[in-house]
């Protein structure tokens, strides 16, 4: 696989050896799931937990991706990137290894959130539907981790990036269809939510849960992902030559 596997293995070992970061990244989505999913008195659905699970899964992917943006930036700051760039291994492998690792890590975390959801009462779905859900989550993960990596490379330092991360993550979540359906939202919020890429992923996961194949959303995510990865490769080449 031209080094991609090795780069992923390296990041995976480093991640698994820091239990604090493994657990801390799960704390926020788990808290939402338990304290909001189980406690919020809503009238538009009988099982709010089932309604909120897709939003929380996508949120888990989002926060993993946004956190992962710093990985390549730190490799660059700490001198690892220069060592890797001086190897005969194709240089793009560094970038793709990173994006894939962040996405896989997000999917592992989403799985844990999914299991917690089921344990506290979310409905269990047929296997094929889970397959569709994972396809959507992975597509969304590619999109967001390429996005985060590009922005981190562009900003170049950790302080600016963490400020950006704090600024973007919550508003992105609240202006999506994660917490309520469009017809319950105020008109202005519904308009914003329709343009939020998080909503594409959340709506797609909800559609998959009802057994339909959300072709439009999957197409949109794939298209956006393709564009962002192209921009990301451009940014990577700019910082590496």
């Amino acid at each position: 696989m031209n080094g991609i596997k090795e780069y992923i293995t390296r990041d995976m070992i480093k991640w698994l050896r820091s239990p604090v970061s493994v657990v801390s990244m799960l704390a926020m989505p788990a808290a939402w799931l338990i304290f909001v999913g189980l406690a919020l008195p809503v009238t538009f659905t009988g099982n709010y937990l089932d309604f909120i699970v897709p939003g929380i899964l996508v949120m888990t992917m989002l926060s993993s991706s946004l956190n992962g943006g710093t990985l390549l930036m730190f490799d660059k700051i700490l001198g690892f990137l220069n060592k890797f760039l001086a190897l005969p291994t194709p240089r793009e492998s560094i970038l793709f290894g990173k994006i894939l690792f962040i996405t896989i890590r997000g999917a592992i975390q989403a799985t844990i959130i999914l299991v917690i959801g089921i344990l506290i009462g979310a409905t269990i779905l047929p296997l094929a539907q889970y397959g569709m859900i994972y396809l959507i989550l992975l597509l969304f993960g590619f999109l967001m981790s390429a996005c985060a990596t590009t922005i981190a490379l562009y900003l170049g330092d950790h302080d600016s990036y963490s400020a950006f991360n704090t600024m973007i993550s919550m508003p992105l979540f609240f202006t999506s269809s994660a917490l309520m359906p469009y017809d319950v939202m105020p008109g202005w919020l519904s308009t914003i939510a329709h343009f939020n890429p998080l909503s594409y992923a959340i709506d797609a996961v909800r559609a998959a849960e009802t057994g339909t194949i959300p072709l439009i959303q999957i197409g949109l995510l794939a298209l956006l992902g393709g564009i962002v990865i192209a921009i990301c490769m451009q940014m990577f080449r700019r910082v590496t030559v």
């Binding site: 080094g3 090795e6 780069y7 293995t9 390296r10 070992i13 480093k14 050896r17 820091s18 660059k76 700051i77 700490l78 001198g79 690892f80 220069n82 060592k83 890797f84 760039l85 001086a86 190897l87 005969p88 291994t89 170049g156 910082v239 590496t240 030559v241």
Partner: protein, 319 residues
């Protein structure tokens, strides 16, 4: 065909010229590029390792052009940057194995064991790097660089921040590699190490080679004695004495070079006394590489007085 060949290699960062028409050939030796901070050493290494694109001129590693044949060049070299980038959450073995796999060599596990053995890290191979000393981390980086048996090894400040024993060990390993036929290109600003361990040195100043040759030849070329005067107060203006050159001043010590030290000493004493400076002692010695360096790049003060703003620009661009 030489292992490293550069012709008019030049790099501009915006308007700042970091490396200025550098022409060099290095083959089967330990070559040290010496120079003050910001003189263009790291920029040169980065161009030779295909991490930076030259603005003008050309360079080839084992006959392969660094711009057009990047991958062929990278197959033949190893690069250890000065940052000491090893994953502290990985063990020594995992760090080396990563590189063995990335280089795509056959039986990476055996090769990893072998290079860890060469670098005397076998018994600590399965400990996390977190527990390694600076010297061990540096040796681990050398082990990573050796897994694919490169023809050319680039080391940027290989002994920076290490204690005397660790430095000596690193140099012993480098000497051994050279004996086995490897070409080694190091940058350093430790003159004594360059003098003792390197076959040939190039002194670079403001991006240009100011002196080039074996340490012995460079010292002989100076053909001068070095006279050091200990003074009570620092003279206000420059001291001008015929036939004597003032090469530097550090604390209460002023250094001069002269064709004949014995004859120059009373002249120096008289000139200093004339400036109202009391000379507490005078001593004379053979030149060292330090003196060659100061002679080539200017006085100690000059070497330090580089344009800070321009240096920042360069660092930013280099990242």
């Amino acid at each position: 065909m030489n292992a490293i060949e550069t012709h008019d290699l030049t790099k501009y960062y915006d308007k700042l010229c970091a490396v200025n028409h550098l022409t060099l050939s290095v083959d089967n030796e330990i070559f040290a590029l010496l120079g003050p901070n910001g003189s263009g050493k790291t920029t040169t290494v980065m161009m030779l390792t295909t991490l930076l694109r030259p603005t003008e001129g050309s360079a080839a590693i084992c006959g392969h052009d660094v711009v057009r044949e990047g991958e062929a060049v990278r197959k033949r070299l190893s690069y250890v940057p000065q940052d000491m980038a090893v994953d502290i959450k990985l063990t020594g073995r995992e760090n080396v194995l990563l590189f063995a796999r990335l280089y795509g060599i056959n039986n990476p596990k055996d090769k990893t064991d072998e290079v860890l053995g060469i670098m005397e890290l076998s018994d600590r191979a399965d400990d996390l790097i977190r527990t390694y000393s600076g010297g061990m981390r540096r040796r681990l980086e050398l082990a990573q660089a050796l897994v694919h048996e490169p023809e050319v090894l680039f080391l940027d400040e290989p002994t920076i921040g290490l204690d005397v024993a660790a430095r000596k060990k690193i140099w012993e390993h480098i000497r051994q590699l050279r004996k086995n036929g490897m070409t080694i290109f190091v940058t350093t600003h430790y003159m004594d190490e360059a003098d003792r361990f390197c076959d040939r040195v190039g002194i670079i100043s403001h991006g240009k080679i100011a002196a080039l040759g074996t340490p012995t030849a460079l010292k002989a070329e100076l053909e001068k004695d070095v006279v050091t005067a200990q003074v009570s107060v620092i003279p206000k203006g420059p001291v001008t004495i015929e036939g004597v050159r003032c090469v530097g001043q550090q604390g209460s010590e002023i250094t001069f070079t002269a064709e004949n030290g014995r004859e120059a000493m009373p002249l120096i004493a008289r000139a200093l006394e004339g400036e109202g400076v009391t000379v507490t002692s005078l001593s004379m010695r053979e030149p060292t590489l330090d003196d060659v360096f100061l002679h080539a790049v200017g006085t100690a003060e000059d070497a330090g007085a580089f344009d800070y703003q321009q240096f920042r620009t360069m660092l930013r661009r280099r990242k």
